[in-house]
């Protein structure tokens, strides 16, 4: 690097180290993320089956079908149910766990690790364990219900269309809450003790302290957690694959799952990519809102 340090000479472009440093990442990223993403947009206007070389352009037909298909509507409804339920439940549970871990007097770190560990499990393993726990004949849940004399409410938790989605949602809360707990915990530990003491001198009880001091100061953590949990809930896949495979019927089919089923199960890859574009637009909108909210917060602080 002889000429590089002076900056006086006009460098030839290939002498610029930056190009060579960026190039490998750029090539891999372009080839394996961007090219297929843009191919997706193109394929969404075709009726490609995934095998033949003959890719037929059919204009907006796929999107019309999405607009009219009851199955897609059902999947969208399920996606929205899952997203709303997961965002609410995961955040409430995470906040409660964070407060408990923050306040508990003994074994703080042990409790934190216990609540966090399910986050590290693969959705497939977690889904399998819960599938067995919820099994109708041999599962733990029904066995416990029998023991405490509640045999009447026993059901096939994953085989009954009324409960299958709920079972997936609740077991996902078990798996994911610990992740958001860590973020809330960091927020809680950043709250100055003086504020809470001042509030308590002014006569605020624990609950009022939480509502008027702690919770508002957690606004930043809440924004982050709500957005992350929303995006993650839209991507939910592994649990569904192992626990119900979208069934019974289409009861647990979400947007990500219908994409997979249509493209690789039914050989309709053109239609699958069209659905993927819909998912992408959804996630894009949420990400843009997220960026706006985060910017706003930065300005306020």
């Amino acid at each position: 690097m002889n000429a590089a340090n002076s900056g006086m000479k006009k460098k030839q472009w290939w002498r610029n180290y930056a190009i060579w440093f960026i190039l490998p990442a750029f090539l891999l990223y372009t080839t394996f993320v961007m090219v297929p993403t843009f191919s997706s947009i193109y394929l969404s206007f075709t009726s490609w089956d995934g095998i033949s070389d003959n890719i037929r352009y059919i204009g907006l037909e796929n999107f019309k079908e999405i607009w009219n298909s009851p199955r897609v509507h059902n999947a969208l409804t399920n996606t929205i149910i899952v997203a709303v339920a997961l965002v609410l439940l995961e955040n409430i549970v995470a906040l409660v766990l964070a407060i408990l871990v923050d306040q508990v007097r003994w074994f703080k770190n042990l409790f934190r690790s216990i609540f966090y560990f399910p986050v590290l499990m693969s959705g497939i393993i977690m889904g399998f364990i819960w599938m067995i726990i919820l099994n109708y004949n041999f599962g733990v849940v029904n066995q416990v219900l029998d023991m405490i004399g509640l045999s009447a409410i026993k059901t096939d938790w994953l085989g009954n269309p009324d409960y299958a989605l709920l079972s997936i949602i609740l077991s996902t809360v078990w798996k994911a809450a610990g992740y958001y707990m860590i973020i809330y915990l960091a927020g809680l530990q950043g709250i100055p003790q003086e504020l809470l003491e001042a509030a308590s001198i002014d006569g605020a009880g624990k609950w009022k302290q939480f509502i008027h001091v702690t919770f508002p100061l957690l606004a930043g953590a809440t924004t982050v957690c709500v957005m992350l949990s929303m995006i993650n809930s839209l991507k939910l896949f592994d649990q569904i694959a192992v626990m119900t495979n979208g069934g019974p019927g289409f009861a647990t089919e979400t947007l990500t799952y219908i994409i997979y089923r249509v493209a690789f199960g039914e050989g309709r890859q053109g239609f699958g990519t069209a659905l993927a574009i819909v998912l992408f637009i959804l996630i894009l909108i949420i990400s843009l809102i997220q960026i706006r909210l985060l910017r706003k917060r930065e300005v306020q602080m």
Partner: protein, 279 residues
């Protein structure tokens, strides 16, 4: 530990008991999994909650000797380690060049990389599948490795560039005057300072790859041994009546995660908060 002096109140005890009960709910499925791995299938079906009466290890032996599971374990380890090493070489270099150059073209590349963070895998998996076929990478373990690196460029560059903003340039400048090459400056001076980010990225991405399911299932063809998680998924279908086998398999895939977590706990927690605040 000034707090330890204050007297124990009944509130302390009630809170502890509540936390303990919730912790039991959280621990139970994992405990249930490991416990069931040491029970015979008949014992699991007879009474799922009962503690194992004998130390049954036949399901482990069967998995390790009669199935492709050991091969799948190797594949998982190879994919995880291979991708992580490549990521740690490729991504910080790109982030460094982007942050230190700070010109129009590098900023454009930065935005281009960040855009990838918003694209979920499901959006590009269908064309990707076809593209791997065309490139002759279908069924080759190099395929998933390259996809993992590509998929983590956005997140990784974001983490590294924001950290690099706080790393002073003076040392680099003096090294440059001493005639050290850029690559030497980066690897000898800058990279060691990036330790915390590297640790977070290794831990988070490593875990993600070890646990990944959809991508390896799609790009490694049937008939070939895949990864642990994918094999487990198939076992759920194939051995649907042999739960002991699947429990043994899940236990074996959880052990490395547990060991990594216990020894690198700090980085797991840090990784979460860094990913959350920046992402």
């Amino acid at each position: 530990m000034a707090k330890a002096k204050t007297p124990i109140t009944s509130g302390n005890i009630i809170l502890f008991i509540i936390t303990l009960l919730i912790a039991l709910v959280f621990v139970f499925p994992i405990f249930f999994n490991i416990m069931s791995a040491f029970k015979s299938n008949a014992a699991i079906l007879r009474d799922a909650i009962a503690f194992p009466t004998e130390f049954y290890t036949d399901s482990f032996k069967y998995l390790l000797t009669k199935t492709d599971y050991p091969r799948a374990m190797l594949n998982s380890a190879f994919l995880t380690v291979g991708s992580i090493i490549a990521m740690v070489v490729i991504i910080p270099m790109a982030a460094y060049a982007i942050e230190r150059t700070n010109r129009k073209w590098t900023n454009a590349i930065y935005i281009f990389f960040l855009f990838g963070m918003m694209v979920p895998f499901q959006v590009y998996m269908i064309p990707l599948f076809k593209q791997l076929n065309m490139m002759g990478l279908f069924g080759n373990l190099m395929g998933p490795i390259m996809i993992y690196i590509a998929g983590s460029v956005g997140f990784g560059v974001l983490l590294y560039t924001s950290f690099l903003k706080g790393v002073p340039r003076e040392i680099e400048e003096s090294a440059e005057i001493d005639g050290c090459s850029r690559i030497g400056i980066f690897w000898r001076i800058v990279f060691p300072l990036l330790g915390p980010v590297t640790a977070s990225m290794v831990v988070l991405q490593g875990l993600g790859i070890w646990n990944d399911f959809l991508m390896p299932m799609l790009v490694l063809p049937s008939g070939q041994t895949k990864t642990m998680i994918v094999e487990l998924f198939y076992y759920v279908g194939e051995f649907s009546s042999r739960w002991d086998m699947i429990f043994a398999g899940t236990t074996m895939s959880l052990v490395p995660v547990l060991v990594a977590f216990l020894s690198l706990q700090k980085y797991f927690v840090k990784g979460v908060s860094s990913g959350a605040i920046k992402g």
